[in-house]
C-alpha cells in the first residue's frame, strides 16, 4: 500500500506519539520505584526491589535511545532543535541516566560497607531529578522554546537555563513527578508483598491525590496559556521548510483542537478518571487492576499533551514562524516511507516483548 506524503507524515506523528507513550511508561516505572526506595524498608526489601528492577532495567531504559533515534530519523530538524535547545538540561540528565544504569546493574554486587547505601541514595536523588526535568521539558514543549532559524537553516537557541525553568514548566515538573510516584507505587504494591506493598499502597494515595490535583491545575493553566496556531494554509505535501508559514500566538489557543473536534475532550477526562480509578481500586484491594488503571492514566495524560499540541511539534516563542509542525519538520518521503512499515510493526511488538520480560522475571520474584 503506497501512502502519499501527507498520510506518511500523519502516520509518523502517530508512531512518534506511540513511542513517547512507551517511553513514558518505561521511564516512570523506573523513576517511580527508585524515588520510593527509602520508604520501602530495610536492606533485604531494597535488595529484592532492585534485583527485580535490575533484571528489566536494560529493556526499559532502551526505550529512551529508541525514541531519540526515531526522532532523528523521521523528524531530523525537530531532533536537532530539541536537543540543541535542551543542552543545559541534558548535561545534568545524561550523567544521571548513566549513573542509574550503572547503579541498577552493580548495586547488588558488593555488600561492602556503604556501597549499597550510597547507590541507594544516588538512585533516589537521580530519580527525583530526572522526573522533574522530564516534566520541565514537557512544559517547555507547550510553552514554546526560544529558538530561530536563519537563512541557511542554522539553529539559534536564544534562551538559557533560567528561561527553561519558567513557572509553567515547574508546574509540569511537579505533575510529572507525582505521576511517576503514583505509577511506581502501584507497581510496588502489585509486585511485592509485606511492608514493601504496604508502603506502596500508602504512596498510591498520597501521590494519586497530588497527581489529580496538579493535573487539574495544569489543565486550567493550559487553558489560559499562550498557544500557537498556523495562520497560512497548510500545504501538506510540500517539502519540509519551517520558514514557509506564518504562526500566530494567543491565549488559550492550545484548546483550539478541542473546539474543532469536541470529542477530543474525552482524553484529559479519561486521564483523570483512570488515575482516580487507580486510587479507588487500590482501596478495594484490586492491585492488578489498580496498576492497569494507573497505566491508562499515564497513557491518556501523555495523549492529552499530544492532542493539544497537534500539529505542532516544537513551537518557538521567539521567532513564531520558525515553529516546527508535523507538516514541515519531517524527513523526505522516501525516508518516511521506507521506515514506516518496519516501525509500525516493530513498535507494538517491542512493547509486548518488554511486557513479556516482566512476566519471565516475575515468575520467580517471590516476596
Amino acid at each position: 500500500m503506497n501512502l502519499d506524503y501527507p498520510a506518511l507524515r500523519l502516520l509518523w506523528w502517530a508512531l512518534l506519539v506511540l513511542a513517547v507513550v512507551c517511553l513514558v511508561l518505561a521511564e516512570s516505572l523506573m523513576l517511580g520505584v527508585t524515588m520510593l526506595l527509602p520508604q520501602t524498608g530495610d536492606e533485604p526489601a531494597r535488595r529484592r526491589i532492585l534485583a527485580d528492577l535490575g533484571d528489566v532495567a536494560a529493556g526499559l531504559q532502551a526505550w529512551l535511545p529508541t525514541l531519540a533515534v526515531l526522532l532523528f530519523a523521521a523528524w531530523p530538524v525537530a531532533y536537532a532543535v530539541l536537543f540543541a535547545s535542551l543542552q543545559p538540561l541534558l548535561l545534568a540528565m545524561i550523567p544521571a541516566w548513566l549513573l542509574r544504569l550503572a547503579g541498577l546493574c552493580c548495586r547488588n554486587e558488593f555488600a561492602a560497607g556503604a556501597w549499597r547505601q550510597r547507590w541507594d541514595r544516588l538512585l533516589h536523588y537521580t530519580g527525583w531529578l530526572l522526573a522533574a526535568l522530564l516534566g520541565v521539558i514537557c512544559g517547555n514543549l507547550l510553552k514554546g522554546m526560544p529558538f530561530h532559524f536563519d537563512n541557511d537553516m542554522r539553529i539559534f537557541f536564544l534562551g538559557d537555563v533560567r528561561s527553561l525553568l519558567n513557572p509553567f514548566a515547574l508546574l509540569m515538573a511537579a505533575t510529572t513527578t507525582a505521576s511517576c510516584l503514583l505509577y511506581g507505587a502501584c507497581y510496588l504494591q502489585l509486585r511485592h508483598t509485606g511492608e514493601v506493598a504496604a508502603a506502596g499502597t500508602a504512596w498510591v494515595y498520597k501521590a494519586g491525590a497530588a497527581f489529580l490535583l496538579l493535573f487539574v491545575i495544569t489543565d486550567l493553566w493550559v487553558s489560559r496559556l499562550e498557544g500557537y496556531h498556523v495562520t497560512t494554509a497548510i500545504v501538506e505535501h510540500a517539502p519540509s521548510n519551517p520558514l514557509s508559514k506564518f504562526v500566530k500566538r494567543g491565549d488559550g489557543l492550545w484548546l483550539d483542537n478541542y473546539e474543532h473536534v469536541p470529542e477530543l475532550a474525552i482524553v484529559p477526562v479519561l486521564a483523570f478518571l483512570a488515575a482516580a480509578g487507580a486510587l479507588l481500586l487500590t482501596w478495594l484491594q484490586r492491585r492488578y487492576w489498580a496498576f492497569l488503571a494507573a497505566t491508562l492514566g499515564m497513557v491518556f495524560a501523555t495523549l492529552t499533551v499530544a492532542v493539544s499540541m497537534f500539529p505542532f511539534l516544537l513551537p518557538s516563542n521567539r521567532s513564531l514562524n520558525s515553529s516546527l509542525t508535523l507538516w514541515d519538520a519531517s524527513a523526505s518521503q522516501a525516508a518516511l516511507a521506507g521506515l514506516a512499515w518496519p516501525t509500525a510493526v516493530a513498535l507494538p511488538l517491542l512493547a509486548l516483548l518488554t511486557r513479556w520480560s516482566f512476566r519471565r522475571v516475575g515468575r520467580c520474584a517471590a516476596g
Binding site: 533515534v69 526515531l70 530519523a73 531532533y79 544504569l101 541557511d152 517539502p239 521548510n241
Partner: protein, 456 residues
C-alpha cells in the same frame, strides 16, 4: 563564521562520545558470540558466569555510550543532525528497532540463568542475542558507509537538507558488506584478545584449569577474526572523489595536482550556491532549477569556503586556494603512520593467536611465557581499532559527510563556554564508563578464579 575554539572542542567531544560505542559495541558482539559458543560446548559453572558477566557489563557500557552519544549528538552536532539526518539516522533507527531494543529486553532474562529460561531456552537466548548484535553491526556499517560514500541523497533547496530519495540504494551502498565484515573481524579480535588475556592471567592459579577451554576458544576465534581483518576495509576503494583523493595522497601523489582538482569542484560549487540563493528567494524559473540540478553535487565544496567568508559567492582566489588546500587531509604522514600501526598491531595479534591456537592443542597446554605474552599483548587489537578509526575519520577531513558537508559546519551554534561544558560532561561520562570497565575486569576474574582460595 564559526570560531575555531568551538570547532576544536566540538570535534574532541564528538571523538570522545563515539569512543564507547566504537570500542564496546564490537566487544559486546564478540563476547556474545563467545558466550553463545560456550553454551554449546560443555562449559558451566564459574567459567560461564564470568564470561556472561563480562558480556553483560560490556553491553551496558555500549548501551550507556550509545545513550550519551545520541543525546549529546543532537546538542552539539545539531546542524549535521538536521542536514544529514534523513540518510544517516535511517539505518540507526532500524538498528534500534530490530536489534538493539530487543537485545536489551532479552538481556535481563538471559542473565538470570537457566532457571528462568529453561535448559533449551538459555542457549537459544544466547544465540538469539548474538544474532541480534551481529545484525546491529550491519546497520552500523550501513550508516558509517553512507558517511564515507554518500549515495541515494540529493540536496533539496527548499528544505536546505540532504534528502533521501532511495532507501534500497542506501542499503546497497557498495562499501557496506566489506565494512560489515571488517566490523565483525574487529569484534572477534577485541573479544578474543580480552578473553585470551583474562584466561591467561588466571590459568596459572589453582582453579584456573577450567579456563583452558576458554583460552582455546579465544585463540581460534582471534585467529579467524584477524584473518577476516586482513581482508581490509574496502571503503577507500569506493567510487567517491574524496576517498580516491585520500588514497592518492596516502600513496604519495603530489598534493598540488589534487588541489587543482578540488578548486574546480569549488568553483562549480560557488555557481551552485549562487543559484541556491536565487531559488530560496522564491525564484522557480525552470532554467535556474535545471542549472542547480546539475551543479548541486558540488555545493559541499562551496560550503568549505564558509570557514573564511560568510558569503561563498564572493570568495576571492586566495580564499578558494586555502579552501582547496583544506579539503585534503592535512597530515598524510600521520595517516600513513596510523595505517602502519593498525597493520602492525593486527599482524602481531595474528601471530599471537596462531601461537595460542597451536600450543593450546598440545596435551601440555600453552607454555608459561605465552600466557604472560597474551596478557601483555592484550591491548593490541584495541590499539589497532583506535588507529583504524582515526584513519577513517582523519582521512575524511574536513568532511563530516564526504564531499557534501564540512565538519566545522555541522557543529551547533553554541558559545565556547557551552561547548567546553559539553566536552567536560562527555569526559566525565566516558571516564566513569571506562573506570567501571576496568574495575570489572580487575575484580571479577579474581573473584571467580581466586589464586589461593578453594574453588567455590
Amino acid at each position: 563564521m564559526l570560531s575555531d575554539t568551538v570547532f576544536e572542542l566540538a570535534a574532541w567531544q564528538f571523538m570522545l562520545a563515539c569512543l564507547p560505542d566504537l570500542l564496546f559495541l564490537p566487544l559486546t558482539l564478540g563476547l556474545g558470540l563467545i558466550v553463545a559458543a560456550l553454551q554449546v560446548l560443555p562449559a558451566t559453572g564459574p567459567v560461564l558466569t564470568l564470561w556472561t558477566r563480562l558480556f553483560a557489563a560490556s553491553f551496558m557500557l555500549a548501551f550507556a555510550g550509545r545513550l550519551a552519544l545520541l543525546l549529546l549528538f543532537g546538542a552539539t552536532g545539531s546542524y549535521f543532525a538536521a542536514y544529514a539526518g534523513d540518510a544517516f539516522a535511517a539505518p540507526l533507527a532500524l538498528e534500534s528497532l530490530c536489534t538493539f531494543l530487543p537485545a536489551a529486553v532479552l538481556l535481563g532474562p538471559l542473565l538470570t540463568g537457566p532457571e528462568r529460561l529453561g535448559r533449551r531456552g538459555q542457549p537459544a537466548g544466547s544465540w538469539l542475542l548474538a544474532a541480534l548484535l551481529t545484525l546491529s553491526m550491519l546497520w552500523l556499517a550501513i550508516a558509517l558507509s553512507w558517511l564515507e560514500n554518500p549515495v541515494a541523497t540529493t540536496f533539496e533547496a527548499w528544505t536546505f537538507r540532504l534528502e533521501l530519495d532511495n532507501l534500497p540504494a542506501l542499503l546497497d551502498n557498495p562499501p557496506v558488506i566489506g565494512k560489515f565484515v571488517h566490523l565483525l573481524g574487529t569484534s572477534g579480535a577485541l573479544a578474543a584478545a580480552t578473553v585470551l588475556a583474562i584466561s591467561a592471567w588466571r590459568m596459572p592459579g589453582r582453579s584456573g584449569a577450567a579456563l583452558a577451554g576458554s583460552f582455546r576458544l579465544a585463540a581460534v576465534c582471534g585467529l579467524a577474526s584477524c584473518l577476516l581483518l586482513s581482508l581490509g576495509d574496502p571503503t577507500p576503494q569506493a567510487d567517491n572523489p574524496v576517498q580516491q583523493r585520500k588514497l592518492a595522497l596516502l600513496a604519495g601523489k603530489d598534493a598540488d595536482a589534487l588541489q587543482a582538482d578540488v578548486e574546480t569542484h569549488i568553483r562549480n560549487g560557488i555557481a551552485a550556491y549562487r543559484q541556491l540563493q536565487t531559488i530560496r528567494d522564491e525564484n522557480r524559473d525552470p532554467a535556474v532549477l535545471a542549472d542547480f540540478a546539475r551543479t548541486r553535487g558540488d555545493l559541499g565544496y562551496a560550503l568549505l569556503l564558509k570557514r573564511w567568508t560568510a558569503h561563498p559567492e564572493q570568495a576571492n582566489a586566495a580564499q578558494i586556494a586555502e579552501a582547496a588546500r583544506s579539503a585534503l587531509p592535512a597530515h598524510p604522514g600521520l595517516l600513513r603512520g596510523c595505517r602502519w600501526l593498525m597493520i602492525a598491531a593486527g599482524m602481531i595479534s595474528l601471530l599471537l593467536f596462531a601461537a595460542a591456537t597451536v600450543t593450546s592443542l598440545r596435551p601440555a597446554g600453552p607454555p608459561a611465557w605465552l600466557l604472560r605474552l597474551a596478557v601483555r599483548l592484550a591491548p593490541l587489537p584495541w590499539l589497532a581499532s583506535a588507529a583504524g578509526w582515526f584513519l577513517a575519520v582523519g582521512g575524511m577531513q574536513p568532511w563530516a559527510v564526504a564531499g557534501l558537508l564540512p565538519d566545522f559546519l555541522g557543529v551547533a551554534t553554541l558559545s565556547a563556554g557551552e561547548t567546553a561544558l559539553a566536552l567536560g560532561a562527555t569526559v566525565f561520562c566516558v571516564g566513569c564508563l571506562l573506570t567501571l570497565a576496568a574495575l570489572a575486569v580487575r575484580n571479577w576474574p579474581a573473584r571467580y578464579f581466586p589464586e589461593d582460595a578453594d574453588e567455590s
